[in-house]
Structure formats: C-alpha cells, structure tokens
C-alpha cells in the first residue's frame, strides 16, 4: 500500500555561475581595503614568517604593511629612482630590491639603511630574488643579463648574457639551491644552474614573458606572457603541458595558493583568474577596478593583495570562521544515543517488532494530505516560504491546480490576502520557471475577483502593478525577438562568406545567450 507522496518541489538549475566549493571558498573575503600608493605597484611579497607582513614596491619606495594596518609600518625609501621587486628571504629577515639605476640593495627588516649594495647591471634591474640556500641572490636586468651574487662578499659570482631582450621576471627553485629561472621579453624562459656557465634549458613561450613561477615540487613551470598562461613540465625537458587563454589582455602576474592546488593569474584586463592545478579550468575569478600589475596571497590564503597600475593597493581579508555559533549550539545527543541497539543482532528466540519509520511532513504536505486546499495555500504564503523559497509556493499552487482545487483555494479571501497573492504573482510571474503556473493563477485571480474591482484601492493598485509587470515583459520579449531576427540575418550572411567564422561565434556562446533570453 502506498504512503502519501509529498509534493515534489522542482529544483531548477540556476542559470549562470554555478556554486561550487571553490566559489564558496573564494567568496569568503571581506570587502577590500584600498590603499593608495605613489605609483604603479610592481611587486607585492609576503613575509614567509608570522605575522606575515608584506612588502609593496611602488615608485621609489618599499612599504611594509602589517596584516591589518592601513598605514605602512615601515618604509624603505633610499632609492633615487623607481625600486623594483622587493622580495623577502625565506627566514623573513632580509629584503632585496632592484632599482631603476641598476643597483641591487639588500635591507635588514629591522634596519633602515641597506646592508649591501650590488652594482654590476648597467640598466634597470626588474627582478631580484634569493636562492634557496639564503646566501646568494639572482637578478635580471634590462641590460639583457642575469647575474648571481654572493651576499657575504657582495660580489658577482656569475653573469649570464643569453637573453636577447629585457629580463623582467624570474624565480628560484625551492628544491635545488643552484637553480633559478628567468623570463625575458625575447619570448623565452631560461633555466640556469649556478654550477654551469650557461643556461641548461630554454623554453619558448611565444610572447614576451611577464611572469614565471615554479611549483613547490620544482617539476612544473608556469609562464605568463601575452594573453597566455602556459604550464611546462621541466623534468620532461620543457614539454608544454597546457596553454591557458582565459584573459583578453596581457597576463602580468602569477601566484600559487598556499596548498598549491590553485593557480592565480592577474592581468591588465582587470581580472584575477583562479585555476585548478589538476584540471586547469577556471574555478573562480575576481574583478578589479583597473589593470593589475602584481598579486600576492598570504599563507593560508588569509589575504589577497592586488597592486594596480594606478597605484591602488587592494587588500582583501578572509572572513573569520564563525566559531562562536558552534559553541553556543545546543548540545546534540551523543553518537551512541543514535547508535543504541542498531548493532544488536536478534537471537533465534527473539521476537522482532518493527517500528515504522516516522516520516515528517511539511505543514503544507500535511494539509494537502487531508485535502485542505485553502489552508495549504495559506501555509505556503507564510513570509519565510513566500520570500525565500518561492518555488515551494509555486509547486503547491501547481499541485492544487493538478487536483482541480486551485480555484476554490484562491477564492473567498479578504483584501489583505488578495493583496498578498497579487504581490507575489506580480513579482514572480516574469520568472521563466514560474511563468506557466503563475499565469494560470493570475488568470483565476482576475476571474474570481473581477466583480469586486473598484472596492479596494489596495487591490486595484496590485492589479495595475500586475498589468504593468506583464506589459513590460511582453515589450522585452518583443525586443529580444527583434534582436534575434537581426542576428539571424547577420549569421546568414556570415555563413555564406566564411563558415569558420560562424563556428567561432557559436563557441563564444553568443547565440546561446540569446536563446536563453528568448526562453525567458
């Protein structure tokens, strides 16, 4: 014998962005804090040790910001011209920066004056960094050369002049203390080993390389240049794994999140895209006000800092996890309460009495079960259901219509209830998923309450609002039809000229968008 089947509330997939764990995670940041710097922010680097201060290089200064400070807690301003690429050492005690005049300076975090100065580059040094043994520094300059420096003696160890254009980015391997990589505007990325006289590997990126990144394992290399982000397998001799083309302007910066599972890229097109490093699909993206030059993520992804061309530093902090509510929550019965008796195996002489599982029905289901149509409709017009889950309200209306009792459920209501019903219908009737049902409801409402029109100003106003909403929707649909007609003619002409062009258009999803709108 069948039991009562509850009303099926149809879950309709939402159009547009799908909510995944990633979107939930990356949306968990507070509204950004904007800090104005003196010039374009070319580098942001987080200190690897708590309290995770970060160094921001902009114009001729390096500012150190604390985690929540809006004002710099320290400033290094001993540069005559622009400073570049202030980078922390692994222990967070030293900071190195290049400069426009070609010198590299090493600072102690606690001091103000540079500890060392490395001169040798003839032009601006845009990239500097520590090797993972902490005692050497690599650098790349606009004089096409990349060099290696010894910190204690402040001397150049080796200089490579293999690039044929500006060296603008680089990074050191965390696994091997002798290996570092530089990317250049000559479209190549070169891998150097300090023990050899020349580069050990050259990777052809295809566009001027703006940023390079090595995975913590040292096996994968990411390079960004032009609109492309490319991932290379270093261990296989620089084989291209995947090429990502998700930005429509030059990609300027790259960064990995703390777990190494996500890759972030910032671009001049004002977007930061987050990729999964397993599927290399975009899982989320951020939108910023202006073109992005630099990007950094603090350990544990607590803070995202983005530097832009107009000198604005955009800082987003993660929302604190809501721990308080959990502690205040009423203590649930212990696990063993639920498990009590579950594992008991009945013995042979035991007499088993099965207890039917009690099903909990929603209020409207209970009422529908006992055929109380009007009350069921009342139940789903309660504010929480009506406002937050309109699909439940509509599903119950549909069920009533199916049972042939919708008319009687709608009839015989007072001014307040009619007002409520009409407000709901006028607001939701234009939503495509509700339209078929609510049009019927609106029809019936007009039929039933037509004789009393004019008796209540409130009801009359609602009827007018409904008319207005429907009128607007019809106009909108007509407009869309016109657009569709125009596009059809356009496509027809394109097809004749160039079939492949049409293909491309399709892949852009233009037609699909139009169609969805039409359905709306």
């Amino acid at each position: 014998m069948a039991t009562y089947k509850p009303v099926v509330v149809q879950a309709i997939p939402k159009l547009g962005e799908r909510i995944t764990q990633d979107t939930v995670y990356w949306r968990g940041y507070k509204t950004p804090v904007q800090i104005k710097e003196f010039g374009a922010v070319n580098k942001i680097d987080f200190s690897p040790v708590p309290p995770y201060n970060y160094a921001v290089t902009a114009s001729s200064r390096i500012h150190i910001y604390g985690r929540y400070s809006q004002e710099p807690i320290k400033t290094f301003s001993r540069f005559k011209d622009a400073a570049y690429c202030a980078t922390y050492r692994d222990d967070g005690n030293l900071l190195v920066a290049g400069s426009e005049e070609g010198s590299i300076r090493l600072f102690d975090i606690s001091g103000r004056a540079p500890l060392r100065q490395f001169d040798g580059h003839t032009k601006a040094v845009h990239v500097v960094g520590f090797l993972s043994d902490k005692y050497r520094i690599f650098s790349g300059g606009d004089d096409y050369s990349s060099s290696l420096w010894d910190i204690p003696s402040a001397t150049e160890i080796v200089s490579y002049s293999e690039h044929t254009d500006y060296v603008r980015c680089g990074c050191a391997s965390k696994v091997n203390a002798d290996v570092f990589i530089t990317g250049s505007y000559d479209h190549t990325v070169k891998l150097f080993d300090a023990r050899t006289k020349s580069s050990v590997m050259t990777i052809e990126h295809g566009q001027p390389v703006e940023s390079v990144l090595l995975f913590p394992s040292g096996g994968l290399l990411v390079s960004a240049g032009g609109r492309y982000v490319k991932v290379w397998d270093v261990l296989k001799g620089g084989q291209l794994l995947v090429s990502l083309k998700n930005h429509h302007k030059t990609v300027t910066c790259l960064c990995l999140n703390s777990s190494g599972q996500r890759l972030l890229s910032g671009s001049l097109d004002r977007h930061v895209k987050i990729y999964s490093t397993t599927s290399y699909k975009v899982v989320h993206s951020f939108n910023y006000a202006t073109s992005i030059l630099s990007l950094a993520l603090s350990p544990e992804d607590e803070t995202i800092v983005v530097g832009m061309t107009n000198g604005v530093l955009n800082v987003k902090h993660r929302k604190p996890e809501e721990m308080k509510e959990k502690s205040q929550k009423k203590r649930q019965p212990a696990y063993r309460t639920y498990m009590k008796g579950r594992t008991y195996m009945p013995k042979q002489e035991d007499f088993c009495v099965s207890k039917p599982v009690k099903r909990v029905l929603r209020k409207y289901d209970k009422l529908l079960k006992s055929f109380q149509s009007s009350k069921a409709l009342d139940a789903v017009l309660e504010p929480p259901i009506r406002l937050y889950t309109p699909e439940v309200t509509v599903a119950v209306m549909q069920e009533l219509h199916r049972r042939g009792t919708l008319r009687s459920a709608l009839a015989g209501r007072d001014e307040k209830q009619i007002n409520l019903l009409l407000t709901f219908v006028a607001r939701r009737v234009i939503e495509p998923r509700f339209t078929p049902v609510l049009v019927t409801v609106a029809d019936m409402l007009t039929d039933i309450y037509q004789p009393v029109v004019g008796q209540s100003a409130i009801v009359d106003r609602q009827f007018l609002r409904l008319q207005e909403a429907i009128g607007k929707e019809i106009d909108y649909q007509e407009e869309l039809l016109e657009v569709l007609g125009m596009m059809d003619t356009l496509f027809a002409t394109f097809t004749k000229k160039n079939a492949s062009y049409l293909e491309e258009n399709r892949s852009n999803g233009l037609t699909e968008t139009v169609e969805t709108n039409m359905n709306n």
Binding site: A2, T3, K5, V8, Q21, T278, S279, K369, G404
Partner: protein, 883 residues
Amino acid sequence: MVAPAAALRVVRCGGSSLHGARAVFSADSKQVGLGTGPFSRKGEDPKLSNDGATGWCHRGLLLPGGVLRRRVTAVLLPARYLLCASGDFVKVYSVATEETLRLMGGHGDRVTAIQLNPHNHMQLYSSSLDGSIKLWDFMDGIPIKTFTVGSKLLALYALPSLEDSVFVVIPKSGERDTFQLVSVKLTKAAAQDLEAKELSVVLDGVDASPKHIAFGRESEYVASVKEVNLQVYFFKRKQLNRFSVSAIKTKSGSNHFTCIACHPTEDCIATGHADGKIRLWRNFYHKKEYTFSTLHWHHDTVMDVAFSMEGTSLLSGGVESVLVLWHNESDRQKDFLPRLGSAIEYISMSPDGALCCTLHSDNRITIINSNLRFSKSIQGLIKSADVKTGLVVDPRTKALVLNGEPGHLQFYCLQSDQQLFSLDIVQRQYIHQAGLNQADLVKVAFSAQGKWLATVEEREEVTDPELQLKLWFYDEETQSFKLNTRINMPHDDHITDMCFRDMDELEDDSLILVTTGRDCVFKVWVMVEDTDPEAQQSVSWSCDFVGSYHNYQATNCCFSEDGSLLAVSFEETVTVWDSVTWDLKCTFCHPPGKIRNICFGRLTCSKYLIGATDCGFLCCWNLLSCALEWSAHLNILVLQPDPLSEHIAAVSWLSKESSLFVFKPNEPRPIYIQRNLCKEKIQLAAFVPRDEPETIASEKYLWLRRSQLFFLTDTQELMTLSTKSLEERLTPSSKQLAVEESLSVTPFSLLLGKHRRQQSQEDTDHGKLVVHSKHKQDSPAVKELLHTPAHVLPSASFLCPIFINSLLISKENKSAVEAADEVEMESEKSEDDSDEEGDVTEMEQEDTSPMELLGETTCKLSKSQEKELRKIRKMNYSWISAF
C-alpha cells in the same frame, strides 16, 4: 514430414478484465489438533456476489477475476484460502503466501459468481454465463457435479437454510435487459452432469449485478435494488415491500442504488448510492413506517458495502480507493484505510471476520486485517486504463514492462504470472477522483543492456501539455533504477516515439537517445560527463542535436542494428540520418498515406528498412540502392522485429479480425500466416527472448525458436502463440496445498504446533519414547480405574496417588513386550488366586487383551505399583463379597 500434431495456437496468457466479483475466503477448518470438529454454522446469510476479476488467459481460458463469497458467518477458524473467479476459471490463492495454488477450469464462459456450499465448507458453487452451475471440491480441484440450467447465469446465492436449492439471476426470457431472481432446485441424483430445470421465480425486475441483491438475517428475506427502487421480499410471509428514493441529480451524480448489504443479525439493510451516500434501512416490514438513516463520507459512487461478521461495523469503498470502516452505524466514528491503489470494486469478509479483502479495478486483491491494517496484496498483471507505453521487454530480467498503477511502471514476470516490482516514475500523489487530469507515463525505452531507462510522462493540459523526460540509471547496489536526469519540456508538444541506440559493446560513452515529437523535430540526447570532480553525479544527459524535415511532425524513430543510421519518419516521409555527423542521407516515401511504423532489418537483412503506412501498405526499402524492394497491400497495425533473428512480425487488421504475418525482409513472401488471431484489435506486440532455444520440429514455426511473441489486445488481454497446450503451461500445485494444510494460524495452534513439532522430532530421534507416551492412555492403572464400575471403587483419596503415579513416566525403559508378558502372567496369577471374583477378572482380561492386540503398546507402570493396585482390588472385592 512436417506434421507435428500440435498446430500453433493462440494462448491467452493474461488479460485484465476485472468484471467484478467478490472473492471468497475459504472457511476451512481442518486445523489439526484443535479438535473442534465440524463447524457449527449458525449464521445464515451468505451472500454471494459475483463475477470475474481478471486475469490471464490461456487460449480460450480467460482467467478473470474473483468471486469472493461474502459473509459466511460463524466459522471459527481463520481462512487460509481465497477463492476468486477469474474469467472462465476459479482461482484458489493462499492467504499466507499470496500464491495461486489452483486453477479450476471447466466452465465454457465467464464465471459470474462463486459461493461456498453452506452445508459443506470444502465445496464451492460456481455459476457461469454458459448456463451451468458447478459444485467443486476446491481442495482437490475436482468438479463434483455440474448442473445445467440453460440460460445465462449472472449471479448465484446459496443459503444455509435451503439445502437443495440455490438462487440465481437469469435474464428474463423474451425481454432485453430485464433480469429475474429464481431459485433452482438441485437434484440429488448421483450422476455428475445433471439438468436443473426446476426454476421458480422469486423476484422480478432485479439488476444483473450481483452487488444488487442481498439475503437478510436467517434467510428471512431477500433485498434487491435497481435504479432508485429497493424491494424486499419476505419468504415466510410471501410479502413484497417496495421502497424508493426520489431521484435527484446533483453535481456529484444521481442517487441511484449501487450496492446492497444486509445486517447479519439484525433487520437492517445498508445501501450504497451513486452520490456517495450510504443509507441504513430499518423497519422495512412496514410499507409506510420504514426509516432510514444516512451516512455520507464518499464523494463519489459507493462501489460496495459489507457488514462485519458480528454486524457491529460496516465497510464501504468506492472510487476514492479508501476503505471506510463505520463503527456502530454512526456518522461520527469511522476509520479509514486510504491509498489502496485504485478504485475498490468489491469488499468481502472472511468467515471468521479476521480478514477482509477488497477487489480493485486494476485487477488486484488486497487483504486487510481486522484492525484495518494492510496485510497483503495479490496481483498479476495490473490493468491500467490505457497501455500507452507499449510492451517493452526489460533486457535484464526479461520481464514485460508496461503501464501499471497510475504513474508507475510494472515489471511483469511472464513465467510466474507475477508482478516483479513496480517503479514509481511520476512520484506524485495520485488523487483518485473521476475527471481529474493527472500525469501519466506515456513512453518507455531501455538501453540494450538494461542499464538505462528513459521514461516520458505527460499531463494533458488545455493550453500546453506538461512533459517530462526522465532518465534512470540501474543501480547495482540497490538493484533498482535511480533517477539520473529529469528534463522538463523536452519537446514543445507530445512525444511520439523514443529509442536508444543499441550498441552492445560501447554502451558506456556512445549511448544516444532519440525522441521524436509532434513539434516537428527530433532531438538527440547524449550523456555528458560532469567535469567538476566534486559533483555528485558523474554523468547527466543533455540535448546534442535537433533535426527537422520540412516542418512535418516526427512520428517514429528507429536505429539500425549497428547504430550507424537513424531512421525518423516525418508524416509521409522516412528520413535516414547518419548517426555520427547527423547529416540527412536519404529519404523514402510511399504516397499517399502517413508512415505508421518503421523498423530496420536485422542480421543478414540489415540493409532493408521496413515501413507500414496508414493507407494499408507494407513497404521494404533497400538502403544500398535507395529503392523500393517490394511492397504489399496490408493494413498493418503493429510491426515488431525479433531482436534475435531476421524475422519481423506484422499484425494486420482486416475485416474485423487480426491476422499475423511473419516475414523476412529479404523475401516478399511471408514465412508464416495466422489468420483470425483474435477478434479484437491487437494493440501491441513484443518478442520476449527465451532463456534457451526451444526445440521446434516444424520448419514453419522455426521463427518461434529463440523468442516468443506476445500480444496485447484492445481489451487488454495478453496473448501468446505457443505450440504447447494450456495444460502443459499450467503447473498443478497440489503439493503446495498439502503443505498449506499443516500451517498453523491461531496462537493456540501455534503453541500446539510447537509442541507437536517437538514430538515429531523426538519421534525421529528415538522411537521408543513415543511408545511410552502413547502408553499414558493405555496404562492399566488408568484403564482399571476407568473401567471398574464406580460402585466397586475405593475412596477417591485412596486412588489419587496411584492415579497420579500412573501418569508419571517410569525411569526404567522396559521393553514393551516384556512388560506385556508380565501383565499377562500376573493376571493369570490373580485368576488363580481369587476364584470367587470371576466376573471381575473377566473384565481384567478384557482390559489386557487390547494391549496384547496392540502388541508393542505396553504398560509402563512399575511392577510394585501394579501389585499395589491388585492388592487394592483384592481388598475391595473381598470387602464387597462380604456383602
């Protein structure tokens, strides 16, 4: 050479015409161990209601429905069998296991009523439209007697008070649609086939339905209803009272009578009405001063009412499929058993009142406990209003799949005539109310391995239909189908056909589903892997291609055997598409006339495409030459290819009879023709693969070797073609019946049964012990006590310890023979000792002699005890002799 005697015959394997009959619970009482002998049957108003429920018919044997006998009062033991008329048969079901135990055939037409013989509860009367009454022994399934009445019998009633006659309803001679209730004298001659021509009219102008007549308390009166009139005839006073209710037509219907029941102990008649009211009539001895009260809960026709055995409560049921229990005949106290599945047509009570059963309009019997709890249901092929899904074979279970309960898909096992399971597709509460427009299942398709199931449900709506396409995945773990994807409004208009691409090896990735719709397009649906690793489901379905042809409605679709070509028919034209690029390859048409069916040839004939058109042409096109190969002028209704061979079966409808043609596409001459398959239109057909190829001698029937052909007719009877006769197909189940008998039902018999079981175990273990226990009754001490005249016995207090002792089991296990010898010896001695008491010793000898006769049965009384007893006896006697 070609002459295996058996010609191919059409075998009806099931139909669903529940004409309405109450089922009957057996009143059997052969409970072992209880020792309540024959039943005392006090109550006497067995009312019979009639006629056939549905069923499965095997050639000419319809097995429709059930006649349940209603109210056999005062039978104490729980009923174990349920008897039910089903077409031409009477079926015996076990109440405990729901199995069909026996199928009793012999009537030449539909069985209209069955009723237990009130004078012998192991016998059953049945009446049929063929004009005969049969008396059956339903335990053995043997017809005992056949009484030929002559005219059609529409209902039968047997009363406990009348031993030699029964009441039947027959059409009045000379007038159409008028019926009379007559009593038939059943002659007691010994012969098996008897004529029963002694008819006497009791009531005129009765209704044909058995629900419209009921016999009252102690068979004092009979009540009958027709339209708005109620007539009550009192047998003793020979008085006929007529009452009527004023005919009112309301929104919910007229207030015509629909059913009647009489109170078992009081003078009270309950009538059900078409407007949902139940009226309780009293005081109907008076023509004027009668009274009635009204009970109203049903909103639609009351289909049947029944009183409980004691008459304290009333059961009623109707279209709502809710069984209502009215307590104390009051409007206030009532209990409900809702959602019984479909409209209740008949209600019957078991004789002991512990169970009641309802017969439903969808060919199902529900057994319900006395406390109104659902207990069991007996169901074969569920009858649904319209089989829209077609006959589909589930590749996994080889079960036939078609519409079942509203919104459900039934999986029907052909071998066991049982429903395997019912899959809820619509998943919405079904409201049992006439005139409601609710979603129903219209199309179903299985993928080749049965891994995927596609269903289409639709709800007719004035403006636009509500359509849903659902795709179900077979979950190995739960062994059932699980909903994978639901697509709302897959087409803008009705879906006309649907098929999967059958690719055996490549099922996983390349599975394709095609749907055709009246909105002039066909759509191709493909599986899409979900790229998000965190998503719950890995695959879902989405639309891949939409094709159309000159804005014609798409009517049929079909994939070629290798899946490379798709044929879609658009009204008059068949289009053939490449299933990889979705290019239109070629078109065929045979004007005038729209395409009704299409199918591809298989195996060696895979280059042919067969199509049947509206205006009566069967065409075969060659796909290689793109030309018409041959055509035949036949009005084909059904075109069904055999999945395991090249054969194609076509069923035509010509001059009011259906004919079957089996052919191979490569030759225009049919292999097999069966004219006059049946009188009804064949609606659907399906080839069901056999488990193992059958050995068929005749070349003519070779096409039946690997699969079997089933048809469903307009009247929803399922038929098949078979070389075997019906008898071979039916398996007698006398064994089951025997097992049944030893089943214990009451708590007491359970207790007893346990004890007995233990005993029988001991029996097997050590036979000797059994001997001992038997001795209890035979022990000499007890015997002597019982057999010695009371006036010679000593005081009771003296005898008591001996008696008690005798009941104890002695410790030493003496061999039976030894003990017997001893007794004899002793008795001889005693003879010697006391000559004076000759008469007494004689008695003793009498006592011992049966023991000797019994042989092994020996006394188990210890020697000392016996001696003591003897002493007492002697004492007594001497004391008596002194007198």
